[in-house]
């Protein structure tokens, strides 16, 4: 039951932008908080895994990021759509996701004995500084047809808007100009939705999204996996390690892997989308390991999960029980395989059924989607008592996104997501060395 409950919540979370794993777990809280430890973990694992599969579907078919880490799928999915090959993109994403999940399990089995040492390296400031610098460098080099000046400006813009609000290392706010709603920074949802969604919808306005997508033979995505197996492997390995970085887990996984693949194979959308999707899923599994092995939550949704686990009798300090916890993760693996197979079925053969709403006229869908996004911004803003501010933010960033629609704004969005982390990391590196 918890398996199915989590899967159903994962489908909704994947289809609706702004409703991620955290919001799903909050909505499920009244139902599952009294359950047993393993049931809660199973439910969480199902939500988190399915959302990675399903989040790709709206990104590829209609240009809406179902999840914050679906941006590479959104950008590359548009290229497939131009050639009426969205079905192939979705099929490849589903297969790559399954393979990514399988590879991370194999990596875990091989490295489980040295996981503690590995984790302590990955969470260090020095490692993060090197990793983040490499990612920024890749963002500068690979996007917008290698026009590094444009990318640099976009990254600077992203960092600028990301730094607005409370500093991550000092007790004051930057650039809030005395406006109270800015003292806590721009909202994630209005910025991502504003910069990416209207421009993506605008570009698709004259196209019929999935309606004219070419018929797909079931072997085509499988053959693509065989042909691009190096991208799957590369994406899964990058995703596994980036998934361990607190706070940014799957966002870093998919974007780092995508940036790496863009550098290696700039003209191959297939390789890029496959690498990003396999990284997504491998990152999702590895991001759960610090919690399941050591009792250390590293994402917002895991903090909530941790609370539920404690209340259901889980010991707070897990460092003395690592061996038992590794055994526990092994017991979860069959369920993880099952949920990934379910994800494959939902996100590939059944993807059209999920998108039945998108059979409606494009103009109608676009209007509805934009209205939904405004409502979601208002809803998410209302949780912070800032509905109006979030809607205004969305409209402002939508204008910027539309004005800059000929550029790929992913470097700006990614820099926005990492800005406060970057501030903290580089400031600490400075303190350590000077």
């Amino acid at each position: 039951m918890f398996f199915l409950l989590g899967s159903a919540a994962g489908i909704l979370a994947g289809l609706l932008p702004g409703v991620g794993v955290l919001v799903s777990m909050i909505l499920l809280y009244p139902i599952i908080h009294t359950a047993e430890t393993h049931q809660i973990i199973l439910c969480y694992m199902s939500v988190a895994a399915i959302v990675q599969f399903v989040g790709t579907i709206p990104s590829v078919y209609i240009g809406i990021p179902g999840e914050t880490n679906s941006m590479p799928a959104l950008v590359e999915g548009a290229k497939f759509m131009r050639h009426n090959r969205s079905n192939l993109a979705v099929g490849m994403c589903a297969c790559a996701s399954l393979l990514g999940s399988t590879i991370v399990v194999l990596i875990f089995i091989v490295l489980s004995s040295v996981f503690l040492d590995l984790f302590s390296v990955v969470i260090s400031t020095s490692f993060k500084a090197i990793l983040f610098s490499a990612v920024i460098l890749l963002l500068i080099v690979v996007y917008n047809n290698h026009k590094w000046q444009i990318n640099l400006l976009l990254i600077a813009f992203g960092i600028l808007i990301g730094l607005v609000g409370e500093s991550s290392v000092f007790n004051y706010s930057y650039l809030d100009f005395g406006v109270e709603s800015l003292s806590t920074g721009f909202g994630l949802v209005p910025v991502i939705c504003g910069l990416l969604v209207p421009s993506a919808l605008f570009q698709q306005y004259s196209r019929s999204a999935n309606a004219h997508s070419a018929q797909l033979k079931i072997t085509q995505p499988l053959l693509a996996m065989v042909k691009h197996y190096t991208s799957v492997l590369r994406g899964s390995i990058i995703g596994t390690f980036c998934g361990l970085v607190p706070g940014v887990t799957t966002i870093l996984s998919s974007n780092a892997s995508y940036a790496c693949e863009s550098k290696l194979h700039p003209n191959s959308p297939s390789k890029k989308i496959i690498a990003a999707e396999s990284a997504n899923n491998s990152g999702q599994f590895s991001s759960m390991l610090p919690l399941l092995l050591f009792g250390i939550p590293i994402t917002g949704s895991e903090i909530l999960l941790y609370d539920m686990l404690i209340n259901s009798g889980w010991a707070e300090n897990q460092f003395t029980r690592i061996d038992e916890n590794i055994e526990f993760v092994y017991q979860l693996l069959p369920w993880f395989v099952a949920v990934n197979l379910l994800g494959l079925i939902i996100s590939w053969p059944l993807s059209k059924q999920l998108l039945i709403i998108y059979k409606l006229p494009t103009h109608f869908i676009t209007t509805i989607v934009l209205l939904c996004i405004v409502c979601i911004c208002a809803y998410v803003g209302n949780l912070q008592l800032q509905s109006m501010s979030y809607v205004v933010q969305f409209l402002c960033f939508a204008c910027i996104g539309l004005a800059l629609r000929k550029y790929n704004l992913l470097p700006a969005v990614f820099a926005f997501l990492l800005a406060t982390e970057l501030e903290g990391i580089y400031y600490r590196v400075y303190l350590f060395h000077f």
Binding site: V169, I296, T320, L385
Partner: protein, 243 residues
Amino acid sequence: MKIFALLTLTLFSFLAQAEPLNIIVNGSPGGTFFERSHMYAEILQKSGYDVNLINAGKTLQAANLFEKINDPTMMVWIDTLSAIRPLEATEENFVSLEYSAPLYLCNKNGKNGGTVGMPKTYVFGPIQQIGKFKPIPYKNTGAVRDAAIAKEIDFAYLNQGKAKTLESAGFSCQTVPGIKQHAIVIAKNIDLGKLAMAVSQAQNNNDFVNWLDKRNFYRQYNISRLEQLDLVLKSQDLWKNAE
């Protein structure tokens, strides 16, 4: 018809009795602020208050909101934040002292000084007497704990919950002398004495007691509200004056 009228009357009279109360929820899901707020909401709702939860997210936003709001409102707070946020306990808003807990300094290498990781919301002063430290600021106590595990800092300066985690990972932790955290409840636009009684009853609820005991938080039994306030004001001054 008579029964319907009676039921309607009962319902309206019940609603008329229920006193409205906003509870500002700050902090992240799973954090102590978040949990405490939700426990109070549940228990106070049962004891007759018409509770409305307001999610404020970050502590800065919660402090701003509390200052501005004109309706009956309560919020959980901690005195350490009064040094850096525009909100502190006063005679006009203090409801109850919930628990006290020491802060800890944890390390693994037996050094007497070096780099010390600390949340940006903590003040550095109290640990300066213990050794020669170079402060390294982190976003929160979770990040400090991770930095200690990654061995990038010599000492970790954090709260009781995270210190216990580090102890289980082989760290030795000592309490920081002379200073404690005090978790409190504050409110405005409401009868503080009446609310203090309801809050005190909530704190004696089994769920609440279990929650506090599980985390080894120390409750101040048998002292009056004014004595509690006196304790908190002194602690608040210590935090504000600490560099």
